[in-house]
């Protein structure tokens, strides 16, 4: 653990010195962009790529720095700590995970055509998976036509969809099996429209419709068992999506202490009141325990111990950290009182945005079921 905390200090310094100014710039406009439902400015996303952040966790062969999962998770945590726009680390992590999955195909055309452009920030990738249906009843279909395929259907929510140049999408084939394929935003028949959500107004979420889109055969990246391909993406992403929120929860706690220290009621600092200190103490416990759980899972993945499709340790970490982050935000609202509700433009936004942690990459409820079922199956008592 000592070595882990040493690395945390190094990563914090790295993020501050290398990307601190960029994160401040993105943060500066977040309130206005949230109201206008605008993503981080394109030039700042491009700067993230040109300074090596988009490629940081990607292999050196594609221009990355090949940092390990523990380091990448800590980088995302520090970005969350310093950046007030939740969209930035989320888009960053999704694009990195897609690039990693595509790199694993080992196909030169895929690496040249997609992985390197993603790493260099020349191509924005998004995952078009979600439908209003279970995975065995998706309506999006792909059929053979000549040497290629024709794709039809609709995906209801794509994080960063309005910015996406290439969609990694999952239709069902004639046999009812899911496949994974790449669709360009400018392929004839592709239509992208804004998607409304409870939060994440700066992620440029979109819906995507495929109207008889003709795809060459080389767009398939998983010609069978695309369900497992999609679950692999979700399993990876499950860990990354809670890293930045944990960093933000840390920042919220520090903001609470600063605000309440300077707030005087009945002649004394609110931060000196015992009930307030108790709440701050519970926030601290939540953050530290969530961090311990997250670092345990990140270390486990780094050591190669995680199962790629559904890993109980990774899933438990996502579940636990998400619960603690939302707990911290709820307590922050309670100790800040009216200031938290109407005095700051940020806390309400975080509460809305991080409500998504309850459903993203596997709802908390389905994770509970899967974790419980895993325990039962291992006990052989089904």
């Amino acid at each position: 653990m000592v070595a882990v905390m040493d690395r945390r200090g190094e990563v914090a310094n790295l993020v501050l010195t290398r990307w601190g100014d960029l994160l401040n710039e993105i943060s500066a406009s977040v309130v206005d962009r949230d109201a206008a439902e605008l993503p981080p400015p394109p030039e700042l996303m491009a700067a993230a790529a040109s300074t090596g952040l988009q490629a940081l966790a990607l292999p050196r062969q594609v221009g990355g720095e090949g940092v390990d999962p523990l380091t990448w998770g800590m980088v995302l945590e520090q970005i969350g700590y310093r950046c007030m726009d939740v969209a930035f680390p989320l888009l960053l992590s999704i694009r990195t995970t897609i690039a990693q999955l595509l790199y694993e195909t080992g196909r030169a055309d895929v690496i040249e055509g997609y992985v390197i452009p993603i790493a260099e920030g020349r191509c924005a990738a998004g995952t078009a998976y979600t439908e209003d249906a279970d995975a065995f009843a998706f309506h999006t279909q792909i059929h053979r036509k000549g040497d290629g395929y024709v794709l039809s259907g609709h995906k209801v929510y794509v994080t960063g969809g309005l910015l996406t140049d290439v969609f990694l999408t999952y239709p069902l084939d004639e046999a009812g099996d899911m496949v994974a394929c790449l669709v360009h935003r400018d392929d004839p028949g592709v239509r992208v429209t804004p998607a409304d959500g409870l939060g994440h107004r700066t992620t440029a979420a979109g819906t995507v419709t495929f109207d008889d889109v003709l795809l060459p055969a080389d767009r398939l990246v998983a010609a069978s068992d695309g369900l497992t391909h999609a679950q692999r993406f979700l399993s990876d992403q499950r860990l990354w999506i809670v890293c930045a929120p944990l960093g933000r929860a840390q920042a919220v706690l520090e903001d609470c202490v600063a605000r309440l220290t300077g707030t005087i009621r009945y002649g004394e600092s609110v931060a000196g009141m015992k009930n307030v200190q108790s709440s701050l103490g519970r926030m601290y416990v939540a953050i530290e325990s969530a961090r311990a759980m997250l670092y345990h899972a990140l270390s486990y993945v780094t050591a190669g111990g995680a199962e790629p499709i559904f890993d109980p340790v990774v899933s438990a970490a996502k579940y636990f950290v998400a619960e603690q982050v939302r707990f911290v935000l709820e307590l922050a609202l309670r100790v800040l009182g009216g200031y938290g509700y109407y005095g700051t433009p940020h806390l309400g936004r975080y509460i809305r945005d991080y409500a998504g942690l309850a459903v993203a990459a596997g709802t908390q409820d389905i994770l509970e079921v899967n974790l419980g079922a895993t325990a039962v199956a291992r006990a052989g008592r089904v």
């Binding site: 249906a133 065995f136 497992t228 199962e307 499709i309 079922a373 089904v382």
Partner: protein, 88 residues
Amino acid sequence: MNFEFTGVLLRSAGNRSSVPIPAATLGDALTELTSQLPQMGRILLDNTGQLRRAHRLFLNGELVPNPDRTMVLSESDRIEFLTAIAGG
């Protein structure tokens, strides 16, 4: 051997929590199972007939990370699937 089903697979198994199959290998067992319960094939197998990796296979309570169709089974073996699927 016996296949034992819970959750989403229980529905595809016609609510039979246990399905005995006379088979000496996993491949034979899956072939017979999907012959008896065709709807199960679409859930368990991909378009090449391989078991989808999203279904984690437990043999007598032990996770088998990469189950092979040639895996030998005995009469008393018990196979369960954990269908840990998220999203949709």
